[in-house]
Symmetry: C2
Subunit: 350 residues, 2 copies
């Protein structure tokens, strides 16, 4: 019988779960495979987060500090869970550093893997220096300058291509990545703030700024920051004779081919299932859904459940997700973990 | 000092919060203004839920039963909170039935109000009997028959109009209602299952089947159930000489006017802020955001917080939301409430 919650993954979901379980009176072991906590927003150097507008390093940094400063939380970085056995109330995890952790319940906040644009070769990434990803532009914004990688010039015209590695059956990505539309509307505004002379175009199939993101990101980007939205099917990205990038496709609103020259083309990359999911599935004895994300249990009365009792999941591990929902799910999973431990303890006591 | 969590609202978020707080060892007082628990899915008679495909009465019914059977939860139906005072650890709520409840923390799961289609008069609701809402069609599906209200005939052709009361500045609804696209794709499939001869058209601006809803609802509805998607700006709904309904607008993909006759026109109604929010705001001393939803606190380290310490919020009360997220947020808010009570107790003990 262990009073510890094992949290795997130190991104927004895992950080939220670790802190939450601690505030509810449990010990926490937080295991992160990278050498620092923070997950994708920190490791990939995100700029200002959607929808808060706060810098990732501040917002997620605050979550990291809160966990690192918490004497109830033992943090293991550069560490993975290699073996896992037991049952609710008394699991044992063997870690890659040789340690063994007893835990009453588990929260997996193991996240996603960014789509690798190399897998969409006709859109120019890896071929042209000035074709970059949203992540790379977030890093540029973080440094306070948006410049073409090839020669350092400030781009006169930037294209953001949505759904790179999303909604694309040809490359086996049948899902939508949920948050790239909103992130891209935000990124267009950040580019414009840094470089008011730059024109930003967003190429889209549908703009999915759901809920309260509609006016705060889509309308604002269009009306206040003059982002141009082009509904199009993109065929390819090539170069013109003068070396500029050409985005070729069909404008699906006028049903005509369009070719527009750009200085920089940005891939709004999607969220693949975490590369490690096959191993995570095997180690923890849990199922994956058809696309390779971690399978969720029935959602109404086994919320954050996986296919294994006592093992819960939160955040983008179960499918593309935004940070706010991942944090809420992390806290939600912590509640389940705490209740599991309390329930087993009561049963033993009675 | 009270060990009770006061939960206001008996829909998915409140039910999740009430159960979760109980499993974490707290007493719960659940206050619901209607005479039964279940919230919108039960009160409005939803059919099969997105994305589980389970009937609302079963899925949400299970959540209701779990709470009603829980001896740690005291349920007050047909009751409202009329007065609220105190501080974290020791709040007091005066109820409309004369009772007084002491609570250490509060979760508001006070939900939303369906948009009233009467406020979009040019689209025919209230004028033509066969112009109905998604809620009404859900009820028909629940009864196992989709029929035109005017004469009971099975419709040959049904139009579902998206964004009724959403993304519409003219009528002060600047937000997207997040889940109507997915619900409508699902509803089209349910109609087709009951009546394979019926053709269903969905009129849209953007199809927002985010995340894993893309292939499970949008593609499936299109490919397996032959739902026709028409990107259009709708001008009005009128009638033809033979009494059929005419949907008039511009097909924005071909930039041409289109007029198609239908037997039934369905408004995919959006999610307004809860009508009671001004009173809720006043009673609980919490802020509202610009559209009238309950304002959220900083999301990263005060998750599910409102502008008042010890008062938390979950679900569609803070903006359009889906059931799955509302349930997760309910559980997440319960964790905060539990931790608040434990924290105050520890402080007093030390």
């Amino acid at each position: 019988m262990s009073d510890t919650v094992l949290v795997v993954g130190g991104g927004p979901a895992g950080l939220a779960a670790a802190h939450a379980a601690s505030t509810a009176g449990k010990k926490v072991a937080l295991v992160e495979k990278e050498d620092i906590l923070g997950g994708a927003p920190i490791l990939s150097g995100y700029a200002k987060l959607v929808p808060s507008g706060e810098w990732a390093k501040d917002a997620i940094g605050r979550m990291v500090k809160r966990v690192e400063d918490d004497s109830n939380v033992t943090v293991y970085t550069s560490t993975m869970v290699e073996q896992f056995d037991g049952e609710p109330g008394s699991f044992t995890a063997k870690l890659s550093n040789g340690d063994s952790v007893d835990a009453g319940a588990v929260v997996l906040g193991t996240g996603f893997t960014h789509f690798d644009s190399i897998n969409k070769p006709e859109w120019g990434f890896g071929m042209y220096e000035d074709v970059v990803t949203t992540t790379q532009v977030e890093q540029m914004v973080g440094r306070g300058e948006v410049k073409c990688p090839s020669d350092g010039r400030v781009p006169e015209r930037v294209a953001i291509l949505l759904c790179v590695g999303s909604r694309d059956r040809q490359i086996g990505r049948e899902w939508c990545s949920k948050i790239c539309c909103t992130v891209s509307c935000n990124l267009a505004m950040e580019i414009k703030e840094l470089s008011p002379e730059t024109d930003v175009y967003i190429y889209y199939m549908d703009i999915r700024t759901f809920g309260l993101y509609e006016d705060k990101f889509y309308w604002k980007s269009q009306e206040e920051f003059k982002t141009k939205f082009v509904k199009a099917r993109i065929a390819e990205v090539t170069t013109s004779e003068d070396g500029r990038l050409l985005v070729k496709g069909e404008d699906t609103l006028v049903k005509r081919p369009i070719i527009i020259p750009f200085d920089m083309v940005v891939h709004a990359i999607g969220m693949d299932p975490q590369d490690d999911n096959p191993e995570i599935s095997k180690t923890f004895g849990i199922g994956l859904e058809q696309h390779g994300y971690i399978a969720r249990a029935e959602m109404y009365t086994n919320t954050q459940g996986t296919t294994r009792e006592g093992v819960f999941v939160a955040g983008a591990a179960t499918g593309p997700n935004d940070i706010d929902s991942s944090v809420a799910e992390g806290q939600s999973a912590a509640l389940r973990a705490v209740a599991t431990i309390n329930g087993v303890a009561e049963k033993k006591a009675s």
